[in-house]
Amino acid sequence: MIWLFILLLFFIPVSLPAQEPAPPTPIAIAKTPSEFQAYDTPNNCLDDVSLIWKAVPSEVELINKSKELKELNKTIAELQAKIDNAEKNKRDDKYYSQWEKKSADLDENKWKEKLAESEKKKIKISNEVDALKNKIIITEYIVYIDKNADGKFEQEVDRFPSNANWKSDKEWPFWVSGTKEGYHYVEINILEQFPAGTLPELKKKKSELQKVRSEIEKSKLEHKDYSKANSRKLNLMKEVNILEDKVSAEKNEIKSKPYYFKVTAADKDNSVLFTFPVLSAQAKDNWFNWSLAVNFLVMIFFCATVIWFISHAKKNKDLFLRRINGLDAVEEAVGRATEMGRPVFYMTGITGMDDIACICATVILGKIAEKVAQYDSQIKVPHRDPIVMTVCQEIIKEAYIKAGRPDAYKSDSSFYVTGDQFAYTAAVNGMMMREKPAASFLMGSYAAEALLLAECGSTTGAIQIAGSDSTDQLPFFITTCDYTLIGEEFYAASAYLSREPVLVGTLKAQDFGKLFILAALVFGAAISLAHLPWIIDIIKDFS
């Protein structure tokens, strides 16, 4: 039931709490916009305040119509180009088969029909646009700023034509209203309007410092003495540090005060038509990016399900797990290595320790190394990254201790080869050709070398088990390896091999997440089939 609730949360527009809109008080003249608001700080911005006001209805209509016109012109141009091209090809006799000619003719006719239709529409819309243009009186909006509410408002901040600066130009979380209805929207950087007084000095010092640095570099190359320049550099650096502190203090000072804004609308002749009431706003640092709130909710939700399932798993120990073929074969592969007296090769992919796929590969290595230790076989793990190598040494050692055979552990079973992609491949292939491993495991993320390693392994007759999240390389693993763990199976492997209830619990949570995605998919598809564009906007906001 919880997930249904969460699903609902996804689609119910929530009002935005953090921003406090000032009360709208319109000044009455003909066709006056009705709302004017000033916001403290919009999402993502630190030194900004924003102003929003509703545009005259005809302005909105004009903008929509002109957009439509633009689209139409584009399609017309595209169609024309297609037709021209087809004609040209016919003239130049570029078609080598009868079949091709026929289908080209067919396409051309279709395009021509569409073209005629579009032309008709274009005439209609451009007439409408002209009519609207005549209707509109406001040509320009002008924004002023002042430090006092009753000041003179002489500092002009922005000036733009009445068909520009729309709220819908920016990205908003889905619950913010008015992104479609035609609101004008201006962001004003306070620090740009009232810059810190010491800023120019800081800039000067910085460029001086840069010069001294390049001087030092030059004299270093020419083997000249540069101690003088060096001491100058150190002095400059101190000065810069002091100035930087000063500037940031000044900036904070500037930002700590509210500012007052006035917006006027002007017509063609630059005479003021009307003025909005003065409003105030203050720039604040944000500690949460509200446009990512949905993302955050999903994360919290997922954390909660994982924790819930884990605690559930502790109570309820035998959870069902479906079979994963590749993992059932691990035992067979390791056993075979013992029988044949040949080593097992294990590769952890190309990424480093900060990549989850690589971490997962090392975790699986622990489980496999344990089996290797039990069966008294040998494991070899060639590496491209020294940190991963170190981690794997630890893991293998621990696995041997766990299996009760710490004496059998060899410190050089996990070793560094090289960081170069193909040198690594060449070296590992060479080793495989010489040592003819009984089994080879390819786990983690791979690039082009995937097939090189896997095919070479299969020529040596090894049982190969691959597990990867690189979707580009999976086809090659499928064709060359005996067993392949596709995508999520690879991530499930460690839980599957260990059968620890806690880990299996997270698998359940994953399944739950999939169910959730499935529901969202089907639900979303149904709605978008019903042509409700707003739902697509909501989904777009998520990403």
Binding site: N85, K94, Y96, T459
Partner: protein
């Protein structure tokens, strides 16, 4: 017979390797010249060059290195052949220091074919550090200011080819063969300001991106990958490396398909016999 069939099913890899290398090398040496369908993108480059009055100047920017040689080098050759056959003048350079030798080779080889004079009919500037600054300099102060000496160290300011076309704005067409992002440099610092026409060629992986560049009018056409080069070769009626490359592609693909089918036939025959 049975033993033979079993052997066939598990054909030694080395035989496959030999077949593949033959399928690649033989078409390269003895080409089949299979017809390639010409796409409008490559045709646009061809048409632009074809409609230039003779004596016009084309700039050939060869911004690639040996790694992209199989795809872009044939394009350079094809464009040069087209230009020289139409008595156009060509100036060449590269932003990629590792590709400087490739450009030189293309120019000397093709110029020899058409008996062209260095300094009057063509000029190879080579490589110089600077990147976009070079483009600005070539536009503002002139080509010979950016490259006082050419690839061979000869003085450029007195060369006849640079008398009429001293600055980038005098160019009639610029062909950019790119294995990376150098087209941005040519567009932002060159074309935007000096308004010359631009076309180009790119590697196979970049084709999708270049379609968009063509839509926003950075370039008026381009050759995409080996296939684009083969199309251009078809257009100038001089089938060379790229067409051979495409032949090799065709033959090797067909060989793989034939092998798969063959493998399946032997597999089924074996199975049928095993069932009996």
């Amino acid at each position: 017979m049975n033993a033979l069939l079993k052997k066939m099913a598990n054909l030694d890899r080395r035989i496959i390797y030999v077949l593949i290398s033959l399928a690649i090398v033989i078409p390269l040496l003895y080409p089949l010249f299979i017809e390639v369908n010409v796409n409008p993108e490559a045709k646009a480059v061809y048409d632009t060059i074809d409609n230039l009055p003779s004596g016009s100047t084309v700039f050939l920017a060869m911004d690639f290195d040996p790694a992209s040689k199989p795809e872009l080098y044939p394009m350079a050759e094809a464009v040069l052949r087209h230009c020289f056959s139409r008595d156009l003048k060509v100036i060449g350079m590269t932003f990629w220091v590792t590709g400087v030798g490739l450009g030189e080779k293309a120019f000397t080889d093709i110029a020899k074919e058409y008996n062209k004079q260095y300094g009057t009919d063509y000029l190879y500037l080579g490589w110089k550090a600077g990147g976009y600054a070079l483009v600005i300099q070539m536009g503002e102060e002139g080509i010979s200011a950016a490259f006082p000496a050419d690839h061979y160290g000869r003085e450029t300011s007195t060369m006849p080819i640079l008398q009429k076309v001293s600055h980038l704005k005098h160019l009639d067409y610029l062909v950019e063969l790119a294995a990376g992002g150098s087209i941005g440099t040519w567009y932002y610092y060159g074309k935007m300001k000096y308004k010359f026409k631009m076309g180009g060629g790119c590697t196979g992986v970049m084709v999708a991106g270049w379609y968009n560049l063509m839509k926003i009018d950075w370039i008026n056409g381009f050759m995409g990958g080996l296939r684009g080069a083969a199309e251009y070769e078809k257009l100038i009626n001089k089938k060379a490396k790229a067409t051979r490359g495409m032949d090799a592609q065709s033959v090797s693909h067909m060989l793989i398909i034939a092998m798969i089918i063959f493998g399946n036939i032997t597999y089924f025959v074996n199975r049928a016999k095993g069932n009996k």
